[in-house]
C-alpha cells in the first residue's frame, strides 16, 4: 500500500529514473475529464485522512486521498462548508482529485473557485522531493503562489499529498426562487441582480426557467425575497445537487457535453450550426454555459472564443484528442517550461491536459 510519503516518493523516484509515466488516480470519479493517459496507475487513495481541522481558524488540512464526503461531513458537523461546492461525480471522490481537476459547483460565481480557497499544498515533485508551498494561514505571499497553481493542473505538475483549504460557515438560511423568462432576459437579469447586494449564491437557467438561490442571514433572505418575487422552489437542495453532480435531466443527453466558460454578459450563442443541434443549461450568472451538442468542435471553440471565453469538451461520446481549448503559442511555451520545472522527466499524467504536456 502506498500510504507513506516515503513509499510514494520512492515510486516517483523510480518512475523518474526509468522515465515511466504514472497515471495518478484517486477514486477515478473524474477519469472521463481530459485526455487518456498511458501509464502505470498510481492509486493514491490509501494516503488519506484529515490532518487538522480547527473551525475557529477556518482552515482544514487533509491528505489528498481523503474522500470529499468525509471532509464535507466533518465540516457540516461544525456548521461549515467547502465554499466552492465541488462536484463529486462519484461516491469516492477524493480531495486530491477535486483540487487537481479544479472544478467548482453552483456557488462558484458568488463565493469563488477551488483555487480561491487553496491555502497550501504538500506535494511530491518529479524528482521525488517532498515539498510544501503556501501554508495554513489566510494570507501568505512568501514566494510564488505554487499551491494555487496546482488547482486545475490535472496532476501534471506533481503528486498532491496534503492540501490546506480555507473554509466558511454554512449560511444561516438558503432559499431558491424561480422565474419564467426567455434566455436573453435571464442573462440580463442574472447580471443585473449580481450587481446589487442581494445575497445570491447560485443561478441556473434551463428551458425558460431561471432558478436563483439566496444564502445568508434569515432577515436578509426575507427582504430579498420580497424584492425579487418569484416562486419558492421546494426541495431546492436536491435541485442544486442535481445540477452540481450533473444528474439533472439535461445531462442525460447522448450528445457531447461542452463546457463554455464565457464573460457573464456574453450574448446568447447565435451560431446556426450550434443552435439547431444543441440544448443548453446556464449557470454562474451567465458565465458557465453547458451545451449538449453535435456541432463540430471547431465551430463551438470559435463561438466561445468570439464571445471572449473558451470551450472544453467535458464529456465526449468518443475519445477525443483535444478536450481542452488550445493555448496561445506564448502560453504554451510557458506551460511546457513549468511542466519541465515540476516534472523534469515527464512522468506525472503526461498528456492528460494537452498532448505534449
Amino acid at each position: 500500500m502506498q500510504d507513506s510519503i516515503e513509499q510514494l516518493s520512492n515510486i516517483v523516484r523510480e518512475a523518474g529514473r526509468e522515465r515511466r509515466p504514472l497515471c495518478i488516480q484517486g477514486s477515478g470519479s473524474k477519469s472521463f475529464y481530459g485526455r487518456v493517459v498511458q501509464g502505470a496507475t498510481l492509486d493514491v487513495t490509501p494516503y488519506r485522512g484529515i490532518v487538522s481541522y480547527e473551525p475557529t481558524e477556518l482552515v482544514l488540512t487533509a491528505r489528498a486521498g481523503t474522500p470529499l464526503a468525509e471532509i464535507e461531513a466533518a465540516l457540516a458537523s461544525k456548521r461549515q462548508m467547502l465554499p466552492f461546492e465541488p462536484p463529486h461525480f462519484g461516491a469516492g471522490a477524493t480531495l486530491g482529485g477535486c483540487i487537481a481537476a479544479g472544478l467548482s459547483g453552483p456557488r462558484r460565481a458568488y463565493a469563488g473557485a477551488v483555487r480561491d480557497y487553496v491555502l497550501g499544498v504538500r506535494m511530491i515533485d518529479g524528482k521525488g522531493d517532498d515539498l510544501r508551498f503556501g501554508g495554513q494561514v489566510m494570507k501568505n505571499v512568501a514566494g510564488y503562489d505554487v499551491s494555487r497553481l496546482m488547482a486545475g493542473s490535472l496532476g501534471t505538475l506533481g503528486l498532491l499529498l496534503e492540501v490546506s483549504l480555507k473554509i466558511l460557515p454554512l449560511p444561516a438560511e438558503e432559499l431558491t426562487l424561480r422565474f419564467e423568462m426567455a434566455e436573453r432576459e435571464a442573462l440580463e437579469t442574472m447580471n443585473r441582480w449580481a450587481a446589487q447586494p442581494l445575497s445570491l449564491s447560485a443561478t441556473c437557467y434551463h428551458v425558460g426557467v431561471l432558478s436563483v438561490r439566496l444564502s445568508g442571514a434569515s432577515a436578509a433572505i426575507k427582504s430579498v425575497r420580497q424584492k425579487l418575487g418569484g416562486e419558492v422552489l421546494q426541495d431546492a437542495e436536491r435541485f442544486w445537487h442535481s445540477v452540481r453532480e450533473q444528474q439533472h435531466e439535461f445531462f442525460e443527453s447522448a450528445k457531447n457535453l461542452w463546457r463554455l466558460s464565457l464573460p457573464s454578459c456574453a450574448a446568447t450563442i447565435n451560431v446556426p450550426a450550434i443552435k439547431v443541434s444543441s440544448q443548453q443549461l446556464i449557470e454562474w450568472g451567465g458565465a458557465l454555459r453547458w451545451l449538449a451538442s453535435d456541432a463540430l468542435p471547431a465551430t463551438i471553440r470559435e463561438a466561445a472564443a468570439a464571445l471572449g471565453g473558451h470551450a472544453t469538451l467535458f464529456r465526449s461520446t468518443e475519445p477525443n484528442d483535444e478536450p481542452f481549448h488550445p493555448l496561445t503559442p506564448p502560453l504554451l511555451v510557458l506551460h511546457q517550461r513549468l511542466k519541465k520545472t515540476f516534472d523534469p522527466h515527464g512522468i506525472f499524467n503526461p498528456g492528460r491536459m494537452y498532448k505534449d504536456l
Binding site: 475557529t56 494570507k139 447586494p197 442571514a217 517550461r337 515540476f342
Partner: protein, 484 residues
C-alpha cells in the same frame, strides 16, 4: 554597456522627458516605502504605451541590462528598490481607466491607476473594488497585483488574487501575454494565480481587469475594548466560531491605540490593552442581526466597553484611527520598521507576549496592529536611524519576529511581500527543493533573469551564509545544500 549609449537608444523609444538620468531626477526613485534601503538607478524610463514597455524590455534584454518595475513606490519590502547599473521602469504614466462595465461588473485599467481611483470610478454604479490596502489613496493596481495586496476587508471579500480576472503583461523577452480572461476561468494552468504576488519578477503588467462588487447597503462597526490582549484574541475566535465572517476584524494594542488617538482623535479608549474593530455589512436587516450577535459575543468575552457606530461619519471616524495607524505610530519615533507575519490565530497571545519580551530585550518599542480576522500581524518596531546601531538592532529584532512566525506555523509575509527585506528569512521558511522550484519558475518566465534580479528568492549561497549565522540546537540548518 555604457550608460550614455543606453540612453541614446532609449531616446529612440521614448521622448526626452520620459528618460531620466541626472542624479537629481533619479533621486526620487531611490527607494520605495522601505526607506532603510536606498539605491539610485542608472536610468529611469517612463513609458506610456505597452509597445514602449515592450521595446524597452527588448532593448535591455539585448544589452543585458537589468530592469526593475515600479508602480507607486509604496511597497514595504523593497521590491521596487532599483539597481545601480539597471533601468527603473516606472508605470506611473499608465493612469487610464480603459473601460468599466457596470452590468458585467468589471473594469479594465492601466497598471498605474491608483487602487482608490477604481472604486471612485465604480461608485456611481453602486460598485467598488474590494481589496483596500491602507495605502489605497497612493498605491497602484499594478503594484497590488505584483504584491497580492490585502486590506482590512479581505477576510470577507478576498485578496487581490480573488478580485482580478485578467492581466496583460510583457516578459523580459518582449513576449506579450494575456493571462486569464473576462470569463471566470481559462484553459491550462492558473498562471493568473502564479503572476499575482510575483513581485515584478515574471513580467511587467501592462493592463489589469478587475472584478467589481456591489456596495453593501449598510456598514456598521463595533469597537470593543479589552483589558488583556488574550481576551481580545479569544473574542476573535469566538466570533468566527459563531459562524460570522465580519467585513473587517482588526486589533490594535495599547501603544497603537495611543498613537492613533493622539493623531486622529477617533475616540479610542486609552486605558485598554487592546481594541477590536468588528465591522458588519450587508442589508440593514443582516447588519442589525450580525451586530447584535457580535455585541453579545464581545461582552461575553470580557469586553470592558463597547461602542457601535451610530452613523456613517461615526463609522469612518472609528476606522480613521486604524487606517492611519502607520503614520500615527510614525509620529512616536523618527523611524519605524513595519513587519508583516501571518500566524494561526490561536497563537496570537503567545506571539504577542514573545514580541513584548523581544522588545524589552532589544530596548526598542513595538506597536502592534493586526488584521486579526486573518491572522496577519503588523508589529511596528520604533527606532532612530541616527542613533548608531539602532537600525541594525531593529532589523535583528525584526528577523526574530519573522522566525517566530514561521515557528508557530505561519509565514514571514502576509501581504507586503519578500522583496529584498525578507530574502534571508526565505531560507528559514523554505527548504532547498522549494527554493529551487521558485528559481526555475522565475526562469520559465524570464530565462535571462534580468527582471528584478536579486529579490524574493535567495541564492543557494545566500542561504548557506544565512544558515551559518543561525545555527539552531547545534544543528546545521539546510544540510541538503551543497557547501562548496
Amino acid at each position: 554597456m555604457k550608460k550614455h549609449e543606453l540612453i541614446k537608444q532609449m531616446l529612440e523609444i521614448l521622448p526626452a522627458e520620459a528618460v531620466l538620468f541626472e542624479q537629481e531626477d533619479l533621486k526620487p526613485f531611490e527607494c520605495d516605502g522601505l526607506s532603510a534601503y536606498r539605491q539610485v538607478p542608472m536610468i529611469v524610463a517612463l513609458p506610456e504605451t505597452e509597445q514602449q514597455v515592450r521595446e524597452i524590455l527588448l532593448l535591455c534584454r539585448r544589452e543585458n541590462v537589468a530592469v526593475v518595475a515600479r508602480g507607486a513606490g509604496t511597497g514595504l519590502s523593497g521590491g521596487a528598490l532599483p539597481l545601480s547599473d539597471g533601468v527603473l521602469l516606472s508605470l506611473s504614466k499608465f493612469k487610464r481607466i480603459l473601460s468599466l462595465d457596470p452590468l458585467a461588473r468589471i473594469a479594465r485599467v492601466q497598471p498605474g491607476v491608483r487602487n482608490l481611483a477604481i472604486s471612485e470610478a465604480a461608485a456611481p454604479h453602486g460598485l467598488y473594488y474590494a481589496p483596500d490596502p491602507s495605502s489605497q489613496i497612493a498605491c497602484s493596481i499594478g503594484g497590488n497585483v505584483a504584491e497580492n495586496a490585502g486590506g482590512v476587508h479581505c477576510l470577507k471579500y478576498g485578496l487581490t488574487v480573488h478580485n482580478v480576472l485578467k492581466l496583460r503583461a510583457c516578459t523580459m523577452d518582449g513576449e506579450l501575454l494575456e493571462i486569464g480572461s473576462e470569463a471566470l476561468d481559462s484553459s491550462g494552468y492558473d498562471l493568473l494565480a502564479l503572476f499575482t504576488g510575483s513581485e515584478g519578477m515574471l513580467g511587467v503588467i501592462t493592463e489589469v481587469t478587475v472584478k467589481l462588487l456591489p456596495k453593501p447597503e449598510l456598514a456598521q462597526v463595533v469597537m470593543a475594548a479589552f483589558a488583556t490582549v488574550a481576551d481580545a484574541g479569544n473574542a476573535v475566535g469566538e466570533i468566527i466560531a459563531d459562524g460570522i465572517i465580519p467585513a473587517g476584524l482588526e486589533m490594535m494594542d495599547k501603544l497603537s491605540i495611543k498613537a492613533a488617538e493622539d493623531f486622529v482623535h477617533a475616540g479610542y479608549p486609552l486605558a485598554a490593552e487592546a481594541i477590536l474593530l468588528c465591522e458588519s455589512d450587508g442589508t440593514p436587516e443582516e447588519v442589525a442581526e450580525e451586530i447584535a450577535k457580535m455585541q453579545t459575543i464581545l461582552s461575553r468575552c470580557g469586553a470592558t466597553s463597547l461602542r457601535t457606530s451610530a452613523n456613517e461619519a461615526d463609522r469612518l471616524r472609528l476606522w480613521a484611527g486604524r487606517k492611519a495607524a502607520f503614520p500615527a505610530v510614525g509620529r512616536l519615533s523618527p523611524d519605524y520598521y513595519c513587519m508583516d507575519g501571518t500566524i494561526p490565530r490561536r497563537e496570537l497571545s503567545h506571539v504577542l507576549s514573545r514580541i513584548d519580551e523581544l522588545s524589552k530585550e532589544y530596548g526598542l518599542r513595538v506597536a502592534n496592529v493586526f488584521h486579526a480576522g486573518d491572522g496577519n500581524l503588523h508589529p511596528l518596531i520604533l527606532y532612530d536611524a541616527n542613533r548608531p546601531g539602532e537600525l541594525h538592532r531593529a532589523e535583528e529584532l525584526g528577523g526574530k519576529v519573522f522566525e517566530l512566525c514561521v515557528e508557530v506555523g505561519g509565514t514571514i509575509t502576509g501581504e507586503h511581500g519578500v522583496g529584498i527585506e525578507k530574502i534571508n528569512q526565505m531560507c528559514a521558511q523554505f527548504k532547498s527543493g522549494e527554493l529551487q522550484i521558485f528559481r526555475e519558475v522565475k526562469l520559465a518566465f524570464d530565462p535571462s533573469g534580468l527582471l528584478n534580479p536579486g529579490k524574493v528568492i535567495p541564492t543557494v549561497h545566500r542561504c548557506a551564509e544565512f544558515g551559518r549565522m543561525h545555527v539552531h540546537h547545534g544543528q546545521v540548518p539546510f544540510p541538503d545544500i551543497p557547501r562548496l
